[in-house]
């Protein structure tokens, strides 16, 4: 598993229907957010990539995904330090992980 929903459980006091509502919004919004990161890389938008990756960190925290958090930090730092072009490898990993996280969430909440 790439996620641990313990924080989300604490946040909503174990109310599974509220957790599911949040997860459904995540599933609606997350693809666009990941696309936005990829577009920043394509445009060579170093600042935009760093800022977007940084802003996504709380969501990784909500999902209890340490690996996602680490990758977002890596992308953010590499974009600032070496530019967006240097983040291609980390971005590929990030997109793949994002897809796995989505699949796990769908399975957990029985969302088609």
């Amino acid at each position: 598993m790439h996620i641990d929903l313990a924080y989300l459980e604490r946040l909503y006091k174990g109310d599974r229907s509220r957790m599911e509502q949040w997860v459904r919004i995540y599933l609606e919004d997350a693809p666009a957010q990941f696309r936005s990161l990829a577009e920043c890389v394509q445009r060579g938008d170093d600042q935009g990539l760093a800022a977007t990756a940084h802003e996504l960190r709380p969501l990784a925290h909500y999902l209890g995904s340490t690996h996602l958090l680490e990758l977002l930090e890596r992308v953010s730092n590499e974009a600032r330090g070496s530019g967006a072009a240097a983040c291609v490898g980390a971005m590929d990993e990030l997109i793949a992980l994002g897809t796995r996280v989505e699949a796990e969430l769908k399975a957990l909440f029985d969302i088609p």
């Binding site: 604490r10 946040l11 006091k13 509502q21 800022a51 940084h54 802003e55 960190r57 709380p58 969501l59």
Partner: protein
């Protein structure tokens, strides 16, 4: 009843936070906004006690919004909710008049405590804010902390101290050091005893003044 406004451009975070706040006793979310301009417009027509304010937002960001709130709505209290944990950012926002600063990864209990503390006493100071403010004062040489003269810290204690300075949690430090959280707590208590510091902020100041850690 504490009337809250929530300003964050990220729908998912705003939604998650609003759902949490709706469950809190004596708290009511009266305004939800996606940027600073929407918030300022809303404050003109809606009575709000406390704003939970994100920093990075389009149209009007949190820092500019903070300045305008202090100027146009001085009675409104502001808690910054951000993913930025750098001391300079925290210090700058507190200097602009924020009543508290919390990371978006804060535990639900801390969010509850911060809101009630700001409503009752006007401020909420957590370890991150204390440390940032102390860093600022030490850098400006406005305070010169004194600590116990101690036995040198062991290598493991230094590792724990570095982790604390980087604001890692006990669990995170334990993971990095390949030891249990209980062992980290043991080292942390030893460092507190050796240095005479009272909390994580004191340890961070100790580490910096002794040249053991550079932010």
């Amino acid at each position: 009843m504490i009337r809250l406004a929530l300003a964050d451009d990220q729908r998912l975070f705003r939604y998650g936070m609003a759902m949490l706040l709706r469950d809190m006793a004596g708290v009511q979310v009266v305004l939800e906004c996606a940027n600073g301009e929407e918030l300022l417009a809303g404050l003109k027509s809606t009575a709000v006690d406390i704003v939970l304010l994100d920093l990075e937002m389009p149209v009007l960001d949190g820092t500019e919004t903070m300045k305008r709130i202090r100027h146009e709505f001085p009675q409104v209290k502001v808690i910054i909710l951000s993913s930025h944990d750098e001391d300079r950012t925290i210090s700058a926002l507190m200097a602009l008049g924020a009543n508290g600063y919390m990371l978006k990864s804060a535990e639900p209990d801390e969010i509850d405590m911060a809101i009630r503390s700001v409503a009752q006493s006007g401020f909420y100071l957590n370890d991150a804010v204390n440390k940032a403010m102390l860093h600022g004062l030490v850098k400006k040489k406005q305070v010169k902390p004194t600590f116990n003269e101690i036995d040198p810290l062991s290598e493991r204690e230094l590792e724990v101290l570095h982790g604390i300075c980087k604001e890692l949690t006990t669990a995170e430090i334990a993971e990095k050091m390949f030891v249990s959280p209980r062992t980290v707590e043991f080292h942390r208590n030893n460092i507190l005893l050796k240095t005479g510091a009272k909390n994580a902020a004191g340890l961070a100041v100790y580490a910096m003044t002794k040249g053991l850690y550079t932010p």
